[in-house]
Amino acid sequence: MSSRAFVFIVPIVVIAVFWLMARWEARFHKDASHKGFFERNGKVLGIAFILLVAFWALFLVVLPYLYMVVESFHPTLPPMKRGGPEDVLTFRQYESLVVLPTGGTNWTHINAFFFSIIASMAVTALNFAICYPLAYYMAQVGTAQKVRLILLGLIVPYWVNEILRAFSLRLLLASKGLINNILVGIGILDTPIDFLGNNVGLYVGLSYAYLLVMIFPLYNAIESLDKNQVEAARDLGAPWWRIHKDIVIPYAKPGIASGCTMVFMFSAGALAAPLFLGGPRTLWFTSVIYNFFFQAFNWARGSAYAFILLFACIALVMLMLRLFKVSLGETIK
């Protein structure tokens, strides 16, 4: 059987196993108050619910992902040869991240990979530093009216879409942009600074794009902290930095973790900001993937790279959560 057809079997087996388990439990551990799914929803609606969710979960989520995994283990072939004798399972696509076809080391892609990961971590740290004070202010200090105003102010700029926001930053930071025009105009600079070329644009763009993703989880987490705890610590003479270090931050840890996780995942997977604000010599890992699809038409390798990125990100997030002793369940909630 072809490896691609195999993808369709896996979900069916999983569903069958759970269904049998449920039947088994219903038969041997009878619970009189328990009602079956169709009893609770009626036949027509029950079937409609199941069909809708099955279509989504299988055809839009699970199968495409599995199919892409399988694709990434296939060689790059022209459409005619797909499914032919040369279409065997191989690790070649994954190896190519490290090894060039000529045998040398693929530094371009390795650098792009590590640059994306490290820069995303930097952006995450930057956003945490920028957002934490405001989240704390909104959650603990500000009056309800002020908080509502701030919330509005936070949301309004994000009505403009991602691409135009990147464009607006470019208008500020380009060598003919506003900042350089003013600095040169006043006479502080003789020649404009190349903000886009030295990646300032990239960092600012990513940070700007994901500010809200950081601030809302922080705000939600700090908001439920009892104000009396902070008061008590202050009365007992704790300096402000100890109040944050020993009370607010430990309390808000799940929120901090979820904000950081999301900002990190989003920046590592970002496409618009690196494409429009990155310097000409900067290669973001998603841009490499993008090029495999649109310039090289090498879908198998693009898939493999996409999975390397996904697994690296998940592994790193898990590691960080373990290091800071936060459980994944708390973070997703």
Partner: protein, 299 residues
Amino acid sequence: MKSKHVMKAMLGFYILLFFGYLFGPIIVMSITAFNTPSYPQAYPFESFTTDWFVKLWNDRAMMDGLTNSIIIGIAVVTISVPVGLAAAIIMSQIYHRARSLYYLVTISPLLTPGVIIGISTVIFWKDVLGLTEVTKAVFYKGMVLATLGQSSFISAYVLLIFMARLTRFDRAQEEAALDLGASHPQVFWHILLPFLKPAIVSAIVIAFLSSFENYNTTTFAILADRTLVTVLAGQVRQGTTPALSALAVVIIGISLIGAISYEVLKRREQARAEAAQLRAKLAEQAEVGAAPELATQAG
């Protein structure tokens, strides 16, 4: 006391900086939409013009993209809102051992980078639709694939919205209706759906907006077609023109009008609800209050 003033000033300064960072680029962009130079420039301001808006209006590619974006948005809403609702209902009833796997599967599109969703959609549907010539000719199109790819993660947003609302649903209402002889579909249409109405409205709005402004997934799934955002992306990559700034001004204008009318509607509805509540309370007080008052008078 003095340090408190210093802290307050620093706080004010910080909030000012924060919102400067947030609004600055957008304000600058809006100014460039009204300035004459063909390279978008806010300073120096040469002279006022609205030519860029006219140019925007005459941009065929952008207008085509806009139409496509709206069509895809409507299609995504019609898929993802029912799917998200069904998924939320199943979430509350599913076999307990399967729940964590179900949760993982349905939430995973939110944690997966949009790039991967786009790529997997194209790779999978190209082969599935390619099975027969007819499906390939009819459905293997950028618009269809973009709709499918976007629905994959937008359904998950919708699921979260419905889940939040469903946790506040009182199952006793449903039981009561069933005991009084309502059928299951009747309970669904007359009790559950009206209860979920606010969530349905916000799900529709959020689904449409996320579809409309999606880039990462769409840029892969759209194939040879184009949406407003992919057209924009192409233009930003090629160069910069104040027509893009003009578009931003239009978008901000439309959003502002939308937000204000939403706020007004909400206030009006709230006022109406409060008035109704007050009337009910007064009526109740009149009924309940009458008895003790009579009693005291008698005593």
